[in-house]
């Protein structure tokens, strides 16, 4: 069970990292300043989780 949990956790963090990359990609691509702010706000909890802080 603990091996399965570890595996899921690794996949989860890989998924979080992928989403962070997607958000950053969209942040670079968009020309709308309101969307830029939204992307950065969305990025914060993903970064905190990726860094294992929260």
């Amino acid at each position: 069970m603990s091996i399965l949990t570890t595996l899921i956790s690794v996949l989860y963090y890989a998924f979080i990292a992928f989403i962070v990359v997607l958000i950053l990609y969209n942040l670079i691509k968009t020309k709308d300043w309101k969307k830029e702010i939204i992307y950065v706000v969305i990025l914060i909890p993903f970064l905190l989780r990726l860094l294992m802080l929260k």
Binding site: T5, I28, V40, V41, L48, L53, K54
Partner: protein, 388 residues
């Protein structure tokens, strides 16, 4: 134009980093706050939970076990604090024992952070303070404020339904991270299950006679101001309850552990070991759903006008007025309940006594404050300081 957009994006990203950085530092500091325990000269050895189960060694939940051993043999009792670290009186009461107690006869084992992981996180969206400080005779001592559940950074993911081992009872998914829903634990389970498995190893291998698990509860919860007892401990709990109510000036009841409610310490420890298991509840208005501002002041003073209002409408199971339920009162209830458990046990087991000295009872804790019994780590010998 491109340069202007680049500068704008950079500034917005920097603003995001400026928000993320202090939040990250704050979370990091909370998770790594070291709480000093200046052990009493009565503490004869300090072990780790990992000494009783290898898989726990080195994990967040590899907590300290403080052993206080008398010169004369007698009963062995264990006091478990920090099952739910959002209930601070449950940690502070054994803390006072660890820093002050002397055992003349028998043995006492203290756990201050049973679910250490849960003490490194607060409830999401709960607006909990991350810590609180207790004024002492030498300054202020800071403690971590925690949550009811193991930190998801240490145990994740949760299942859709939590199936308790070994009963097979279905419980709320999140309770797979609740230390008081995973007794007696299992060796190959989650971190929380492995923690209770290790604690069961302590109870069995140290031949513990009585386990006392300390908690606090919201006033809207019916199990409050009481001792919940396994059937093996009903006589003991009733005697403790009657004596405290008659002689110490506070009311505490007795409830019997339901046989079909699994995972709780008062049920499973009694079922899976020779020990008598008791669970003590003190009132904590901070936990009530109808509370007002959720801050350090409310946590320590236990005053809340909205909870008082709920009481006026008959919605509470414990009384409350404008004086609230201060932390000194809640901790004092626990210290007296523990000491009275020793004394009531001794009445029935004169050949296997436990005698504990130098720990304040209810009235003394209220009179002097908890801080009076906390020792200064800055003037203590290094070998006397342990960290939770």
């Amino acid at each position: 134009m491109k340069k202007k957009i680049f500068i704008r994006k950079t500034l917005i990203l920097l603003a995001g980093v400026a928000l993320t950085f202090p939040a990250g530092v704050s979370f990091y500091r909370h998770r790594h706050l070291k709480e000093p325990v200046v052990i009493s000269s009565g503490v004869t050895q300090v072990k780790k939970l990992g000494d009783y189960f290898d898989k726990i060694r080195g994990t967040t939940n590899d907590c300290n076990l403080y052993f206080l051993e008398g010169k004369e043999p007698g009963a062995t009792m264990i006091v478990i604090g920090g099952t739910h670290p959002e209930e601070p009186a449950g940690r502070l009461a054994p803390w006072i024992f660890a820093e002050n107690a002397h055992i003349q006869k028998g043995r006492l084992i203290l756990v201050l952070s049973a679910n250490r992981s849960a003490s490194t996180v607060t409830r999401p969206s709960g607006a909990y303070p991350q810590d609180f400080t207790i004024p002492t005779d030498w300054g202020r001592q800071k403690f971590r404020m925690g949550d009811r559940w193991t930190n998801p950074l240490d145990q994740w993911p949760d299942p859709e339904v939590y199936i308790h081992y070994p009963s097979g009872q279905n419980l709320a998914y999140v309770d797979i991270r609740n230390l008081n829903r995973v007794w007696p634990g299992r060796a190959n389970g989650t971190l929380t299950e492995q923690t209770t498995y290790a604690l069961m190893n302590v109870i069995r291998s140290e031949k513990v006679d009585v386990v006392i698990d300390l908690h606090e509860a919201e006033l809207q919860y019916p199990v409050i101001n009481t001792i919940v007892a396994h059937e093996k401990g009903q006589d003991l709990a009733t005697l403790v309850s009657m004596t405290l109510t008659d002689f110490e000036g506070f009311k505490i009841g007795t409830e019997f552990s339901p046989k079909n409610l699994h995972g709780l310490s008062h049920r499973e420890i009694g079922d899976h070991s020779d020990a008598i298991s008791l669970l003590c509840e003190a009132p904590e208005p901070f936990l009530d759903a109808t509370r007002g501002i959720t801050n350090r002041k409310q946590l320590l003073e236990g005053k809340d006008e909205f909870v008082v209002k709920a009481g006026e409408h008959g919605l509470l199971f414990a009384p409350i007025d404008s004086t609230g339920w201060p932390i000194d009162v809640r901790v004092g209830r626990h210290t007296s309940t523990i000491l009275q458990t020793f004394e009531s046990w001794n009445e029935d087991h004169p050949d296997k006594e436990i005698i504990c000295n130098s720990v304040p009872r209810y009235a003394e804790v209220i009179k002097n404050g908890i801080g009076h019994y906390l020792k200064n780590p800055n003037t203590a010998q290094t070998k006397k300081i342990f960290y939770e």
